[in-house]
Amino acid sequence: MNSSLNLLIGLAMGLNLVALGSGRLPSVIRAVAFQGMALGLMPILMEHSNWLVVTVSLGTIAIKGFVIPFLLRRAMRAANIERESEPFIGFVPSLLLGAGGTIAAVAFSRALPLLPEHAGLLLVPGALASVLTGFIMLIGRAKAILQVCGYLILENGIYLFGLLLIHATPLLVEAGILLDLTVGIFVIGIIVDRIQRAFDSLDTRKLTVLRE
């Protein structure tokens, strides 16, 4: 069970690097969607399957794997952009930063003690690596849709971390968190749409009126 879970976490970490190294919006969105689906499978592997776990799992797969990517693709088509041409941080430097961050995450997570049942799992390094990847994308990309993808990867990292607590916290809290995230993405989607209409572009470099 642990090895299949680790395989999925490794897959998610690999997808981080795919998202960092690509400038084509469809492939980044696809990477985020696959990562969301991999994350959605994990609770079933970790918990004894009762209906609540299965529901949360299926909900996660549906939202992270299908609904959000669908919204992002729609925004992409409306804005008529296919790729990031001038990122703030280039693709090769982002990849190197992401790889370095992944190594640092593995090293740092050794300093944190784990319960015996989590000892063999890659959850903590996977979580930290995804959070770092998310940060790199938030800072390094100029297109609003890619920044949203970065935010999603950041959230996926936090979700991975939350799996450590799946035995302890009532799933009620998890459901509330998932709901909040969903609403958040909808709100972000609406704002992206408004920015597109107001500026006729989704390039955040144009958002520079407000500064000292």
Binding site: L112, P113, Y151, V209
Partner: protein, 480 residues
């Protein structure tokens, strides 16, 4: 059950506003709900309810010490909102009124949340509910501000979730049964896993600090406050930041119980002083009156956080400062809103001589200037005096010196800008727009009332408030 009414009455009001057919009468729901909320809040302040320590939601001493201030601020803003939305009748107000009420309900829930996860959910929900309020004006500048607010605020909220998980795992690793109420976490105390507590503290401080607008995570604040309507700015600066502050106070109490108190207090003082320095420097440079309010808010958040680092007397002073800051900031935001509308511009290059066009608002603006820079007889003077005394009594004279120095520079920066806007000759463009947006009682009285409350809370602090603040300090410094 009254404490649940504080949450469900605004929610009900929000639902009603969403289906209310008439746009002209809909804004009256704001003061209607505001009055009910304030009455219940003051009732609970005077007659605090009993509650089970393990409950997730309760009007506990900490909520009792700060929530009434937020409620009073909301009521004043709600009364102002009726006139404001009539003046701005060209904008649809269904979403605005609904979300203002939703924000009030969520703020009530956030202040009363005694569970780590519930606290996070309410903070995140407040963040999201405030988004459409920020771009009420629907200008490109407003969308830009909203985008920055979403990205920075969203990242902050995400980090505080990570921190909450880390604190939860600290409890689990230390043998806890997964009970994430603050009472249970404090009771576990030194049993919490040490490395995880440290990780959690850093993440939660950055996360909720972003929500409060502490430097260097304050970057969303000038944009958001600058572009949002005045009442939204007042609620953000006086209500939403207060939720994040109480969240940090609750987490700080857990970290203290875990035995890392001195470390936590040092980081609080350091980040507080840094916020004050950054705010003072930007106050010396800014030429925009609404952005000025944002930097002033960063400064006061720094003051609150420094207070939280000064031990029990410091927390007491900080709770006092929550009141004086919320009420004063409210008056300032409302008067600046009036001046901005009448002048049609916001920077000291384009605006001048407003004492001739909007005499009342300009008067409140100047009074508010002296209030936020801690001149007697206004509330902030007394709360900051208490804070300085707390700093000396706990042996933090260096931090107190830095604090006083920053206050002085902030005073220079604020007076420079305020008097440039109030004094001099009115600009021709402002004369025309001043006729279009005359000062009416509906936009002056709420600001005046807030100003009067700010004086009252300083010179005649009622004993029930003294008792409420002391009760909250006792709750937070409970050593199991």
């Amino acid at each position: 059950m009254k404490e649940l009414l504080l949450i469900f009455v605004p929610f009900g009001g929000a639902g009603l506003a969403a289906i209310w057919p008439n746009g002209r009468t809909r804004p009256f729901l704001l003061p209607a709900v505001g009055i009910v909320h304030t009455v219940i809040c003051l009732w609970l302040l005077v007659y605090p309810p009993k509650f089970e320590p393990q409950t997730w939601l309760a009007f506990d001493p900490l909520a009792r010490a700060v929530l009434p201030a937020v409620s009073l601020l909301f009521l004043a803003c709600a009364v102002y909102g009726v006139t404001y939305l009539r003046v701005r009748a060209e904008r649809p107000n269904r979403v605005f009124v609904t979300l203002m009420l939703l924000v009030l309900g969520l703020l009530s829930a956030g202040h009363q949340a005694r569970h780590l996860g519930l606290l996070w959910i309410t903070t995140e929900a407040v963040t999201l509910a405030a988004v459409p309020l920020l771009h009420f004006n629907a200008t490109p500048r407003a969308f830009e501000a909203t985008w920055k607010y979403l990205l920075v605020g969203g990242t902050g909220v995400a980090l505080s979730l990570l921190g909450s998980f880390a604190l939860g795992y600290a409890s689990l690793h230390g043998g806890g049964g997964g009970d994430l109420t603050f009472v249970a976490l404090m009771a576990q105390g030194a049993g919490l896993s040490h490395p995880w507590v440290l990780t959690a503290w850093v993440l939660l401080l950055v996360g909720y600090g972003t929500k409060m607008g502490l430097a260097p995570m304050h970057t969303w604040k000038p944009d958001a406050y600058g572009e949002a309507p005045g009442i939204v700015g007042a609620i953000l600066a006086g209500g939403v930041t207060t939720v994040a502050f109480t969240a940090l106070l609750r987490v700080r109490a857990v970290v203290h119980a875990a035995g890392d108190g001195p470390m936590a207090d040092r980081t609080l003082i350091a980040i507080g002083v840094f916020s004050m320095v950054v705010a003072a420097l930007f106050l010396l440079g800014t030429r925009d009156m609404k952005r000025m309010l944002a930097y002033s808010s960063v400064e006061h958040m720094g003051i609150l956080i420094i207070g939280a680092g000064f031990g029990a007397p410091g927390v007491w002073a900080a709770l006092f400062h929550v009141w004086s800051n919320s009420l004063t900031k409210g008056a300032l935001f409302l008067s600046v809103g009036n001046i901005h509308r009448a002048a049609g511009a916001r920077t000291m290059d384009e605006v001048g001589g407003m004492s001739a066009i909007t005499p009342y608002s300009a008067g409140i603006f100047v009074a508010g200037l002296f209030a936020v820079t801690a001149c007697p007889p206004f509330g902030p003077f007394f709360s900051e005096l208490a804070l300085v005394r707390a700093g000396f009594s706990t042996g933090h004279s260096g931090a107190v010196a830095a604090f006083l120095g920053c206050l002085l520079f902030a005073f220079f920066g604020l007076t420079r800008l305020v008097f440039a806007i109030v004094d001099g000759k009115p600009k021709t463009a402002s004369k025309a727009s001043g006729k279009r947006f005359p000062e009416t009682a509906g936009v002056i009285i709420p600001a005046l009332v807030l100003m009067a409350l700010s004086i009252w809370v300083g010179i005649a602090t009622p004993s029930v408030l003294h008792e409420a603040w002391s009760g909250a300090v006792a709750q937070l410094f409970l050593t199991p």
